[in-house]
């Protein structure tokens, strides 16, 4: 395998209505109007020397290396800033140009260290390449004059360093930070010879920098360089793969030395990310080889026993005999499984197959239950598909962006950057969120309207927006008449038109002014292409499903579904949460969202799997836990999830787990759930297996194995071993065969195969005969459901109420550098940005309680209490406190209640009534946590291995 080199045209080539034709070095070439001469030349294979140009950035024209001659024009224009035009005749090489370029290179080199042989970028340096390309042989100016060779090195960032002596001030890093990332952390300070790159006058770590690495990737020299490259040297081969963190699903090149990752480079070929990434995907992969990785299977009879390392054969035999015993004694329904949104589609499919065909029940659920299950319910009810309507690129066509309950710059950073780029280019922005998230105001971004919602008032807001649309005559009547069910539309329109839904009537409840709500509604309905982007701030409520339907109603009423630039777009949490839902991880449906009641579908699987299948829905995670506490549910197979940390009401979850007789955990680490497990199977990271992930755009992308599984097997192989031992044979040789089975049985995946994925790079489902290359935009001309279905969305306040005992509302969220339960990111240098979870509290609420910034406070709800550090922050409204749940020891879910969405039981993480007071001790739960972190995780010391 070789190193994948991606084509770089120097400046961007964008589609245009018109092509222009010119002649370069005697050859004719046609390019879209607006393309530079440099890119036109590159598209025919001619490399014009360049230093300040790179095709992810706009042309800048500063280095003067890319000069060309154009017949009929005077001088030697820079090819990167000169647009190609019809009839142009360009010469890229002749003696005059060569001389000029040599002169330019000489100046650069005269102020650049010449220790190329020992430089970390040796062999991967554009300055070196260009010196070679222009044939530089000697430099007339010595080092005697003023130079920068003693410049300082800033190594404050844990992942990359800035070695200023090597900087050629090409400005690429500054522009990458502005144009690609949108953070504006870097500037060029000083003028002329004095000019230097500056991270806002401080070092990188203390600056605004979010460590996305775009500047490192853009830097043509070794100035900004990954520390891993400095330590290890150049990679020698690479493979395309997909980030295993968030639902953006960025494509990366895993650049390797043997089986060791040297660096992860976001791929320009990746359609979800176009060559960009965030700090997690690019840098935080160290967890994959962290010393905490458990690589040996282990078993124990009781959770109070120490773990005993055993062979795979013994672990599997024990697990299978326990599951058989449990089913024999307590019945077929006494066992179940939890699939993982971190694992591949193929692995998820296999676990639900094992449950349905092997266990003989439908007791399978997934962590999407606790994040986006209302998305599935709400969107399939109204539109007909359990997924977002667009691709990410569609945001480039948006005129109005409505963000509700999402924080893209932290939660979905690469998409956040893309969104910010569009906003800087003029799209209007409405943010509905209890907090002043970054999008509300950040460099060159300011929301036109921030609606500072009170947590739990989403549905009241969406009804108020709809009220304005309907009563002010802003409904797109033709669209609705043609595409939607009119009976339902009329009922809905009558409902939202009632005066009680008006912004004026609802303002107090919502927390935003009536005038702002009205103005936002008008903007959304009349501002051109309007798109909704939403996250867990919508779904994790007792009315999560209602809110999703409400957003679909609003989008249909204003004609904003079915083309580019519009739509209703869930920003999915985990890398494969879309995929795990698609693959039939829910207890009531088979892959492709087909209900277990549906006889035709059941027949397909009975035939394929050779077993009779249960026609009744199985248990959701919360039912399994309830039944466990009640004594009827005894065995659980958990693949790649940590329900003891991520699920609400920790007391309830752990009581359920403690009541079980055999819990099998398959994971990279001994996680919180493993404290209650009897069998531990070592999991494999995304670097150790083949498969696919599906991102929030329904995009299926390949995950490629670049190292041997540390525990011996990919997760799919572990499932297969367990299935065989349970007496349900599975004989897959490779995950591609599992995908073939998925395609053969699931209409929306009918056209998907590993082979096609290798050809196309990625595919957005549905992919079948009607759409052989997939479907970027859904519901064009017609809704999948047939006629779009308006649903009535009455607002009901949550049962979780504040009162004298618990006067504050706690809402939860996440931050950029950490990821969910933190199992991966906590095991990387990302912890430098977020060592612990803190409680953000408004100065007013803090003062009332005598709380100072940094004080330890007790956070208490009806469910339990924890101690946590307070951070005083004006991002919160008075009355609302906020925390993240990236650290197990925080125990944020000790606080959250078991209220949940009415339709899907997605827990209400976003609203918990709490009290906060100063304390000087950890809570009882935390004390026990520390104690059990020792006692329930012990591994027996082994005699010399057999």
């Amino acid at each position: 395998m070789a190193l994948i080199e991606e084509f770089n045209s120097g400046t961007p080539i964008r589609p245009a209505a018109e092509q222009v034709t010119l002649t370069i070095d005697g050859m004719q070439v046609s390019v879209p109007r607006g393309t530079s001469v440099m890119a036109a030349a590159a598209s025919m294979g001619t490399k014009i020397p360049r230093l300040c140009a790179s095709d992810q950035l706009e042309a800048f024209g500063s280095c003067r290396l890319c000069l060309v001659e154009i017949e009929g024009r005077r001088g030697t224009p820079a090819s990167c800033t000169t647009p190609a035009d019809n009839g142009m005749v360009v010469h890229t090489q002749n003696e005059r140009l060569a001389k000029l370029r040599k002169g330019v290179m000489e100046l650069y080199i005269s102020d650049h260290p010449l220790n190329c042989l020992t430089c970390s970028a040796n062999g991967d340096c554009e300055l070196q390449d260009q010196a070679g390309q222009v044939g530089l042989r000697d430099v007339r100016y010595g080092y005697a004059g003023e130079n920068h060779l003693d410049g300082e090195t800033d190594a404050s960032n844990p992942y990359f360093s800035y070695e200023s002596s090597k900087c050629i001030v090409c400005n690429r890093c500054v522009r990458a930070c502005e144009e690609v990332q949108g953070t504006f952390a870097l500037t060029i300070e000083g003028r002329g010879f004095q000019s230097r790159v500056s991270a806002g006058g401080t070092n990188f770590m203390n600056s605004e920098c979010v460590s996305c690495g775009a500047c490192v990737q853009a830097c043509p020299t070794a100035t900004l360089n990954e520390k891993s490259v400095i330590a290890m040297g150049k990679p020698e081969h690479s493979a395309y793969t997909t980030c295993a963190y968030c639902g953006v699903g960025c494509t990366f090149k895993a650049e390797m030395q043997g089986e060791t990752v040297v660096r992860m480079v976001p791929a320009k070929a990746g359609k979800a990310n176009d060559g960009h990434s965030c700090v997690k995907g690019r840098f935080a992969y160290g967890y994959a080889t962290h010393k905490d990785r458990m690589t040996k299977p282990m078993i124990r009879a009781a959770i109070t026993d120490p773990w005993r390392e055993v062979s795979w054969a013994e672990a599997i035999a024990y697990a299978a005999s326990e599951f058989k015993r449990i089913q024999g004694r307590y019945g077929r329904n006494a066992i179940g499984a939890v699939t993982s949104s971190r694992c591949t589609n193929e692995e998820t499919y296999l676990v639900q197959k094992l449950v349905r065909a092997g266990f003989g029940n439908n007791n399978v659920d997934t962590c999407a239950r606790v994040c986006h299950s209302p998305t599935g319910y709400g969107l399939s009810t109204t539109l007909g598909t359990s997924a977002g309507t667009q691709d990410f690129r569609s945001v480039e066509q948006c005129d109005v962006i409505l963000v509700i309950g999402a924080n893209p710059t932290d939660g979905h950073p690469v998409f956040g950057s893309r969104m910010k780029k569009r906003i800087r280019a003029g799209a209007k922005l409405i943010v509905a969120d209890p907090r002043k998230i970054d999008l509300v105001k950040s460099p060159h971004i300011r929301a036109d309207y921030h609606l500072p919602l009170k947590p739990g008032s989403n549905v009241a807001l969406i009804n108020a927006l709809a009220h304005v649309v309907v009563t002010e005559g802003l409904v797109k009547e033709d669209y609705v008449r043609e595409r939607c069910d009119l009976h339902d539309f009329e009922a809905w329109a009558r409902f939202v038109a009632e005066e009680r839904h008006s912004p004026e009537a609802q303002a107090d409840l919502i927390g935003a002014t009536a005038a702002d709500v009205r103005a936002a509604a008008r903007l959304y309905a009349t501002g051109g292409n309007a798109a909704i982007f939403y996250g867990l701030g919508v779904t994790e409520h007792s009315q999560g499903s209602t809110m999703v339907m409400g957003m679909a109603n609003l989008a249909m009423a204003t004609g904003n579904i079915g083309r580019e630039g519009v739509g209703v777009n869930p920003l999915r949490g985990q890398n494969n949460v879309q995929g795990s839902c698609d693959m039939g991880s829910f207890p009531h449906e088979y892959p492709g969202y087909r209900h277990v009641h549906d006889d035709d579908t059941r027949e397909i699987y009975e035939k394929m799997w050779g077993r009779p299948l249960d026609r009744d829905p199985g248990m959701r995670i919360n039912n399994m836990l309830d039944e466990a506490v009640g004594g009827a549910f005894k065995g659980l197979y958990v693949q790649g999830e940590d329900i003891a940390q991520s699920d609400p009401d920790t007391h309830h979850v752990t009581s359920g787990l403690r009541a079980m007789e055999c819990v099998i955990v398959q994971d990279l680490f001994l996680n919180e759930t493993a404290k209650y497990a009897h069998v531990f199977l070592p999991g494999a990271s995304f670097l150790e297996k083949d498969g696919t992930f599906t991102n929030a755009e329904r995009r299926i992308s390949r995950v490629r194995k670049v190292m041997t599984p540390m525990g011996g097997y990919g997760d799919w192989e572990g499932t297969q071993l367990l299935s065989n031992a349970l007496g349900y044979p599975m004989h897959y040789e490779h995950p591609s065969e599992i995908m073939d089975e998925i395609a053969a049985t699931t209409p929306s995946f009918a056209g998907v195969s590993f082979e096609k994925l290798d050809q196309l790079g990625s595919i957005q489902w549905p992919c079948n005969d009607a759409a052989p290359e997939g479907t970027p935009t859904m519901h064009i001309d017609k809704f999948v459901i047939g006629k779009g279905k308006f649903m009535i969305t009455e607002f009901f306040p949550t049962e979780e109420r504040t009162g004298p005992r618990f006067p504050l509302v706690l809402t939860t969220g996440r931050i950029l550098s950490q990821y969910n339960v933190g199992a991966q990111t906590r095991r990387t240098e990302n912890s430098q940005w977020h060592e612990e979870d803190v409680l953000e509290i408004h100065p007013f609420d803090a003062e009332l309680r005598g709380i100072l910034d940094g004080d330890l406070v007790a956070l208490e709800s009806r469910s339990g209490d924890i101690a946590i550090k307070a951070r005083i922050s004006e991002r919160m409204q008075p009355g609302v406190v906020y925390t993240t749940f990236h650290h197990a020891k925080t125990g944020a879910n000790v606080i959250t209640t078991d209220y949940s969405d009415w339709a899907t039981n997605c827990p209400e993480y976003k609203v918990t009534a709490v009290q906060v007071r100063k304390t000087n001790r950890m809570s009882d739960w935390q004390a026990r946590f520390y104690e059990e972190d020792e006692s329930l995780k012990r591994v027996a010391v082994m005699e010399a291995a057999e």
Partner: protein, 97 residues
């Protein structure tokens, strides 16, 4: 916050009823009945039905009716699709997720 199983089911059923109550009476009953049938396990339905023999206080009347009505006699479910079908891109007859 462990709750007694019946109390939890009552809470869940009432929440479901709350959503469907916006619809005409018969449709609401149908919506609730279908929802329980589609998403609740047989055991949950059984526990609930048996539980209702003892406790009916605090249970939404629409729920009581939904549990009593034979599925074949139900009116139009508000979730029923008018032109149910796979759509052009589709192949998906989605229910929920």
């Amino acid at each position: 916050m462990a709750m007694d199983p019946m109390a939890k089911l009552v809470m869940m059923a009432n929440q479901i009823a709350q959503f469907f109550r916006s619809y005409p009476h018969d449709e609401a009953v149908a919506g609730i009945a279908h929802h329980l049938d589609k998403f609740w396990t047989p055991k949950m339905r059984e526990t609930f039905r048996t539980g209702l023999l003892d406790v009916q206080d605090g249970v939404d009347p629409l729920v009581l009716e939904a549990v009593r009505t034979d599925t074949d006699d139900l009116a139009r479910d508000p979730l029923a699709k008018v032109a149910a079908g796979t759509g052009e891109n589709g192949g998906i007859v989605a229910d929920s997720g």
